[in-house]
């Protein structure tokens, strides 16, 4: 029923993305005839080990890293937890963590639990953002102390696409001997990353955001960084993460990283142009609409737009009637009763926060699709405003 047939207009790529056909093709042998265990002594398994090795190299190439710095995990969340908890175990005497108010729940809720579960053994600084979603570097600099074990700051925000200056922030942490982790789940594959040149100690990525399957992630651990595993078990991943390798997905992720490298120019060219067209079209055609997040320091594929005085879930379900897929930061879509913590941290007024829609594109989107969305949205918003008690149109 809900298959992504040609009529479905998928603009929710920050939630998850289509598995590239090339990726499926690369994976198939490891879901069928090549089922060996990479750790086995026989050639049958050893060949599979070779495939994992090749994939590791491809992931490393996209990030400007060495293959030995790449550890495969099950998802972005596991990578985030592994990095932050490793830092705390490495420096048990340090009791301070710096993060931001707009992190993904994978980092935000972990940091919250560091305080609540441990009975406030840890102090957590959550950096503020301004109305465009940007950090105050002076606040960051002042927050770095001798007690700080790790800084965890996302590279790009999943809701607004705003990009943080993690290169500079990592360098500042390094100067004071503080470990730096970045949740780069939304950034990898969308913007150029060259870790060899940077002071980033840990980086998390997630396969399904860049056209690989769900259930595969990576933690980059810079060479020389002290590390304590999260999953203890077998000797897989050089003893950094126990558990038999998810071979097919690892191979798929390798292929997806290779494709992402090839398509980086298209992502920052054609996809960005489509995004700009969509954004400008909607802001021009729908009165009382506004962009959330910095205009330029932003991922090329993401546009978060608020339509004032209407509610996000209602908008999404009307869009659904036209088979347009997107997300909202409204309270009703999350299952919680409050709107997105990211928009609230930015000080987006309630009139707008409840009516925010995130469009996130990919290389699979076309200009026809963008035109169709620009054509349909004004009537959807107008019909909902007509029944809103707050709309004085």
């Amino acid at each position: 029923m809900a298959s992504a047939n040609p009529k479905t207009i998928y603009m929710d790529n920050n939630a998850t993305s289509r598995v590239a056909p090339e990726v499926v093709e690369a994976m198939m042998p490891y879901l069928t005839e090549s089922y060996g265990n990479p750790s086995s002594m026989h050639t049958f398994g050893g060949q599979v080990g070779e495939a994992v090795k090749t994939a590791r190299k491809k992931v490393a190439d996209l990030l400007g890293a060495d293959p030995e710095e790449i550890t495969f995990t099950s998802c972005g969340t596991e990578s985030d937890s592994t990095a932050i908890l490793s830092a705390l175990r490495t420096f048990p005497e340090k009791r301070h963590v710096i993060t931001t108010r707009v992190e993904h729940p994978a980092v935000k809720n972990l940091c919250d639990s560091l305080q609540t579960v441990t009975g406030h053994k840890y102090k957590v600084t959550r950096l503020k953002v301004d109305s465009e979603g940007m950090l105050d570097m002076a606040e960051y600099e002042a927050a770095l102390t001798d007690d700080t074990a790790i800084v965890s700051v996302m590279w790009a925000n999943n809701e607004t696409g705003v990009i943080f200056p993690v290169e500079e922030m990592a360098a500042m942490a390094k100067q004071r001997g503080i470990l730096f982790h970045t949740d780069a789940v939304q950034a990898v594959g969308k913007i150029d990353i060259d870790l060899a040149q940077l002071d980033i100690d840990f980086l998390s990525l997630s396969g399904h955001k860049l056209h690989a399957p769900k259930g595969i992630g990576v933690l980059y651990i810079k060479r020389g960084t002290l590390f304590v595993p999260f999953l203890t078990g077998g000797h897989q991943e050089s003893g950094r993460r126990g558990g038999t390798e998810n071979v097919a997905s690892i191979v798929g992720l390798g292929r997806a990283c290779e494709l992402a490298g090839e398509k980086m120019a298209e992502e920052n060219g054609r996809v960005k142009q489509l995004r700009d067209k969509l954004e400008e079209g909607l802001l021009a055609k729908v009165p009382k609409s506004m962009l959330n997040g910095h205009k330029t320091a932003r991922l090329p594929n993401t546009a978060n737009i608020s339509f004032e005085f209407v509610e996000g879930e209602a908008i999404l379900l009307h869009m659904n009637q036209h088979r347009i897929c997107a997300s909202s930061g409204s309270a009703c879509t999350s299952g919680s009763l409050e709107p997105s913590h990211v928009l609230r941290a930015m000080g987006v007024p309630f009139t707008a926060a409840h009516g925010s829609i995130r469009f996130s594109l990919s290389v699979y989107n076309t200009e026809e699709e963008v035109d169709f969305v620009i054509e349909k949205m004004p009537a959807i918003i107008a019909s909902l405003r007509k029944m809103s008690p707050f709309w004085k149109g």
């Binding site: 009637q321 409204s330 309630f350 008690p389």
Partner: protein
């Protein structure tokens, strides 16, 4: 994705009786923008006490819109006394059920209906009395006790689903658990309800609503004349965080505007203790 019944979908996509009756016999205005849902119900009632027309305007999700729509269908043709007996469960079942997390949408419908009937009868709503338990969403103990009894609620989570209480900061969870225990064990009935009727403190939400009203009525027109505007960003206790827009934003007198003009007006018309600050 929520599992909505066909009936919910139908009322959401093609709502009935959208609008506002001119010179209504009774009006029920509940919820707020800050809460994420709000409903304005207007009723036309004839001399025989029959509801001849009902219209709604709703800001909210699919189930809020569907609940409002089906409610207007239900009450049309009913006597006021009959309508007064409608419960939130009746609204939900008319829609073929609602997801449990969305039951508060049907409660909002019932509240708007009660408010409209009280308005028609010239009565004060009993539920608006009582003591605020959940400050985030402005829910009183009486509302919570009523929901527990009417819908046989048995957990704090269910209370949140039905009334929103506890769905914000979560600080009132212990209090909710206490009310639940007392209500289920029947202890609260030992205290006559009217003993508890004391004037309501102003909740954050009431404050926000009132502040918005004053900004709109008293402050914006003056600022707009000068090409400026003001936006309410947040209300945290007595702190009112605002942001000046347009010409006001770059005006070197903005601090004076905020303290001398905005703060003075809000203290005069909303609450003496308010402190207005510009968002940094």
């Amino acid at each position: 994705m929520w599992e909505y019944t066909d009936k919910v979908q139908e009322h959401f996509l093609h709502p009935h009786n959208v609008g506002e009756i001119e010179k209504p016999s009774g009006t029920g205005d509940v919820g707020s923008l800050a809460c994420g849902d709000a409903l304005k119900l207007t009723l036309k009632i004839n001399k025989d006490d029959i509801i001849t027309e009902a219209k709604f305007k709703t800001f909210g999700c699919a189930s809020a819109i569907a609940s409002s729509s089906v409610l207007t269908d239900m009450v049309t043709g009913m006597s006021v006394d009959e309508a007064a007996k409608i419960t939130n469960e009746d609204i939900a079942s008319a829609l073929g059920g609602l997801p449990k997390e969305k039951m508060h949408c049907s409660v909002m419908g019932r509240e708007a209906l009660e408010a409209a009937i009280a308005d028609y009868r010239g009565q004060v709503l009993p539920m608006a009395q009582g003591e605020i338990v959940c400050e985030c969403f402005g829910v009183t103990d009486l509302e919570i006790i009523r929901a527990i009894k009417e819908s046989s609620l048995r957990s704090v989570e269910e209370i949140t689903n039905f009334t929103k209480a506890g769905g914000g900061c979560g600080k009132c969870e212990d209090k909710l658990r206490e009310i639940l225990q007392q209500t289920v064990s029947g202890k609260e009935s030992a205290v006559p309800v009217n003993v508890k009727l004391k004037p309501k403190r102003m909740t954050s939400l009431q404050k926000i609503k009132k502040i918005e009203e004053v900004l709109e009525r008293e402050i914006r027109p003056g600022l707009r004349k000068d090409g400026g505007d003001i936006e309410l960003i947040d209300v945290d206790g007595d702190f009112v965080i605002v942001s000046l827009r347009g010409a006001c934003k770059s005006c070197h007198k903005s601090q004076t505007t905020i303290k001398e003009y905005v703060e003075k007006k809000l203290r005069e018309l909303v609450l003496e203790s308010l402190i207005v600050e510009e968002e940094n």
